[in-house]
Amino acid sequence: MAEYLVENGSSVRPERPLEPESLLEPESLLEPQGRLERLRWALRSWQLSAAMWTRAAMAYRTSFVLMLGANIMITSLDFVVVILMFQHTDRLGGWTLPELGLLYGTSAFALGMADLLVGSVDALGERIRAGTLDVMLIRPAPALSQVCAERFTLRRLGRPAQATVVLLWSVSALRVDWSWDKVLLLAALLVSGTVIFGALFVGGATLQFWWGEAKELQNSFTYGGATLLHYPPTVFAKELVAGVTFGVPLAFVNWLPLLHILGKPDPLGLPAAFQFASPLAAALSVLVAALAWRAGLRAYRGAGN
């Protein structure tokens, strides 16, 4: 304790600690205590790592503008397809183009934000093979924060950016009476949706602890899930809709809350409470993903060598 105070207080101190034990006390002050403190430390670690990666990316003269542009174009293709479809019809599954815009905007925004924040976790298998996970595990920061921040790049802002444009357009084109509950619900669904996709990224990546090459598997849930949510639930078989309501909780990203906002009937006829349950579903997803991550770390076998 004294050592710590001297360290910060005055310049009178021994050049080096004489016995290692003397570090024990100040160290326990450094170690984040309690749940909230630990969460803050996890976020801070993510931020520190992400900042390093941003700087590292500057070492390459990859044109940021070109890649951001390409990113926006790639991620816009899905909506271009929707527009092309509406050249031939004015309703799809009973929904209009602005309504699909709302579906697309919310789903792509949530996926894009999740991808920006934690999407890098999908390369976990490569990190394991390259041995970089070992390196992360010897740092006093949560490994998950570091894996999620790995190769962080603002280039991934492309998807949420174009999703926002579509979202704004659809909100202006729709005749919706934006009462406070609907505005609140929209905000809540964007956050919950981001969290749900984030949990899917992490939970899916966890499989790579056991199945190192299975990177593509989780694409079914993340990118595949987002594609599913671009279209109205009425387009799909009831079993599929039930599957993404009670299994992988994709329906909570936008389908269920948007039913309320747009005043549409639920094809499954579920109680209205489901339409407000997105934050709960998000919390549950995070819990499951966190447990999976822990189990994965315990089963981790090292990079070999």
Partner: protein
């Protein structure tokens, strides 16, 4: 209380190997098999053994990277697997095979991140960095991107990174691998300094026996995940009665060479391998071979540490 304590620690890996065309078989590899030892604060211990002996696996369990399958281990009073991040502040790790530095960024940036991640108080950070920079001669390298550093320079950079937060223990997994003689000497000098002057406990894995000879008062040898020797260096030399090898190329295939003081251990076409005691001179043997056989070329191989260990493994009772 000992700084590092292991009690009956084991770690198994299940691997699925292909047998035949389609069938696959599960097999258990006991990488570490009931290992117990303690290391006191301030010691410098050499940890050696043949490839695949389980050295890296032990170190990974001691850092919390791997969860042990059985047994109990504590480092600085902490269970590594349970409280990995807490332990991380008390230990420093250097993997010779990979780097903890940021590949594309100047060396300085990696240190700055360490300062934040380990929450090193400013004054302490500056003092430690200055010290490492001086001892490891890093000054001119601080602003160079890590990918542009030579292997030896990078290793020095890694050593500094592992020590900025004043760890109580420093684990080194083959820190001198691939380094030239000059770099090896410098790394060893530095390690001696931090062990004797700063009192940091050092656990060192290597295949270079010189590292051990110059640094460690104590050696632990493992094979197949079990301790086969734990004691002073002299004991290791006495136990492992080593041999050198003379490799000769004859003009053509011939029957095994017969000369006094050496025996043929291997024949491959025109090439033959002769073993003789390490302390004997090679000259009379070479002369005898040259006199009796059509000799084209020859070379002498020094005893490899694996041979010493293998010999010892046969002699020392397990445990």
């Amino acid at each position: 209380m000992a700084l590092i304590e292991l009690e009956d620690v084991a770690r198994t890996f299940t691997i699925r190997a292909k047998v035949g065309r389609l069938r696959r078989e599960r097999r258990e590899v006991r990488a570490v098999d009931g290992l117990s030892f303690t290391v006191e604060a301030g010691e410098c211990v050499g940890y050696i053994g043949p490839n695949g002996a389980g050295k890296s696996t032990t170190i990974k369990m001691l850092t919390g990277i791997l969860v042990p399958s059985a047994g109990r281990l504590r480092v600085a009073g902490v269970d590594p697997a349970r409280e990995r991040t807490r332990l991380a502040r008390r230990i420093g790790v250097v993997f010779g095979q990979r780097t903890t530095l940021w590949w594309d960024l100047p060396l300085r940036d990696s240190y700055d991140l360490a300062r934040r991640i380990y929450r090193i108080p400013d004054a302490r950070y500056r003092a430690n960095l200055d010290r490492c920079v001086e001892l490891l001669e890093l000054g001119p390298l601080l602003d160079t991107p890590v990918r542009q550093l030579s292997l030896g320079q990078r290793m020095r950079g890694d050593l500094a990174a592992a020590l900025l937060h004043d760890p109580q223990v420093l684990y080194l997994d083959e820190p001198t691998i691939g380094l030239d003689v000059v770099s090896k000497v410098r790394v060893r000098e530095f390690l001696r300094e931090i062990n004797t002057v700063a009192g940091t406990t050092v656990l060192l894995t290597t295949h270079d026996l010189t590292d051990i000879e110059q640094l460690c008062g104590r050696v632990m040898v493992i094979d197949h995940g079990r301790m086969v020797y734990d004691g002073g260096l002299d004991g290791l030399h006495a136990t492992g009665r080593s041999e050198r090898t003379l490799v000769v190329d004859l003009a053509g295939p011939s029957a095994p060479i017969e000369v006094p003081g050496a025996r043929v251990v291997k024949v491959d076409g025109a090439r033959q391998w002769l073993a003789f005691p390490a302390e004997d001179s090679a000259a009379p043997i070479v002369a005898a071979v040259a006199a009796g056989y059509p000799l084209l070329d020859l070379s002498v191989r020094e005893p490899a540490i694996e041979d010493v260990i293998a010999r010892m493994y046969a002699k020392v009772p397990i445990g």
